[in-house]
Symmetry: C2
Subunit: 307 residues, 2 copies
């Protein structure tokens, strides 16, 4: 079943210890939809500027992604530039230009109305709520957020959280949202805010899914998936969005939601995140095959599988 | 087969968000040997002061641990006091009194000479090397160290590392030792210093074992074991030493060293670490049953097991 993602389509300037690029395609909706496209049909809602030329749209098209929901506005695409330290966990933002993103009003094309899965990537929670309310007939809603909204628009975000089934955020966002440093305690508090499940991304350590009691009928026990220890993290940008794309994309492809599907989705999330970091920008996600994905899935399984 | 551990037997003063204790039994050899005692016979080499009364020796004795290698010296036991933040990963040392530990000269009782497994807990690398050289007939040598020795006695530590088969250290120690922030790259560099395998402890995220090419004939692929998400980390002190005790103790109990044994040992390490943090000091490790350990092992397995 198809999945609809609302988020940013942007350009990024990135410097890491392995090199730098001045301008590559980026944005949460870009990484998410490319990653999800290996599993299911993807519909994107975003806004771009005049610098989003045909060659960039073709990146989506070649993966079969429906781009009719990408609005065009006068001006330039959202632009972000940042630098990672020797330790790829250390990131400094150098530039953020919202550009056309500043006045983004997401509109869902009627052709997208059959999407049963929705992912609200990291945008203003007010917009997330608006989109969610336009999509009444969805089976599962995933969402992301960041410290900027947690601190700046907490009340609005709390409204959004009531409308999200699976929240996909990282450790520091979880701690900030719950105002609690111990992660499993923080998870419990976040789940009390609305979501049925919380996928907590631990960066190089993998991710854990925590469930509310009774959620999806899959039991209360958390489940943890690893990531591959990667020696050359060329560019960490987009790893989290790619995780979300693999995770949600796999779920959408299965049609049923049970514990085994969710477990495998956690692994596929990790797999897609691990591919994303192998090249600058989303390049690696444009050229994969299902065979490569399955091969890496098996590597992930070997990494943690007992007997 | 029995395991010999050399390390500290100490008293600790500990404050966490869940309470505080002024003086509990502590030390690396204490946590290690209690954890290992559920799997195999344990012989301890350490030094204690006059404040190590019978009640403390009984803690070891009740677990069947051989204490003939615990030397007695005039003065007091090593004492450490520290405080953990709201986030149990944040630790501040308030007091360190070496006391009798300052002049510790490890001597291996001849009754211990049949130990086929040796663990060099976190002590001066010069002493670790001396002990290793007194034990020529061992099958497997494990060892630990810390940033204090990595920075203060690097040359001596590099000699020790050539004599250790499995190094068991945490992420920050690995980064410091390799002077490389990316963990799998750092692992490769640490393995080039001597050990056949590196067990990298990731705190609340579990641990990964990395192998040198050809090590133990178990293949090159790393293996990762989780830890349980624990809401009430009452006292994190000794979790790493308990991990090492469960890990080495299980290996010693098996008599053979293959990939499946090492994988299960990683899980048992995590299991023993997870018990250690449930009470102040090593209390929880004094009263376990094999049934409780197996039950938790199954919980760890459920946490990561795919179909």
């Amino acid at each position: 079943m198809s999945i609809l993602v609302v988020g940013s389509v942007a350009f990024d300037g990135i410097k890491t210890r392995f090199g730098q690029v001045d301008r590559v395609l980026g944005g949460s909706a870009t990484y998410f939809s490319l990653a999800a496209s290996y599993f299911t049909d993807v519909n994107v809602v975003a806004v771009v500027g005049e610098d989003f030329t045909q060659e960039y749209e073709d990146v989506f098209r070649k993966r079969g992604i429906d781009t009719r929901g990408i609005q065009r506005a006068p001006g330039k695409c959202f632009f972000w530039a940042g630098e990672y330290g020797e330790d790829p966990n250390m990131r400094t933002t150098l530039t953020t230009c919202l550009n056309v993103f500043e006045n983004f009003k997401p509109a869902i094309p009627k052709e997208y109305s059959d999407s049963k899965f929705l992912f609200l990537a990291n945008i203003d929670p007010v917009l997330q709520t608006e989109v969610r309310r336009q999509m009444n007939d969805v089976a599962l809603v995933g969402g992301d957020t960041m410290n900027f909204w947690i601190n700046g628009k907490r009340a609005e975000l709390e409204e959004t959280l009531k409308l999200i089934d699976v929240l996909v955020i990282n450790d520091s966002e979880t701690r900030e949202l719950a105002q609690e440093p111990i992660l499993p305690r923080a998870a419990k508090q976040v789940l009390a805010m609305g979501p049925q499940a919380l996928v907590m991304k631990h960066g190089e350590y993998g991710a854990t899914i925590f469930f509310r009691e009774g959620a999806f009928g899959v039991g209360r026990h958390p489940f943890r998936a690893p990531t591959l220890p990667i020696e050359e993290v060329i560019d960490p940008t987009g790893a989290g969005d790619s995780f979300a794309g693999g995770f949600m994309g796999y779920i959408a492809s299965q049609g049923v939601l049970n514990r085994e599907v969710l477990k495998r989705a956690m692994f596929y999330g990790g797999v897609m995140g691990s591919f994303a970091v192998e090249r600058f920008g989303p390049e690696r996600l444009t050229e994969l095959t299902r065979e490569e994905i399955e091969e890496r899935y098996q590597m992930f399984r070997e990494l943690t599988h007992l007997e």
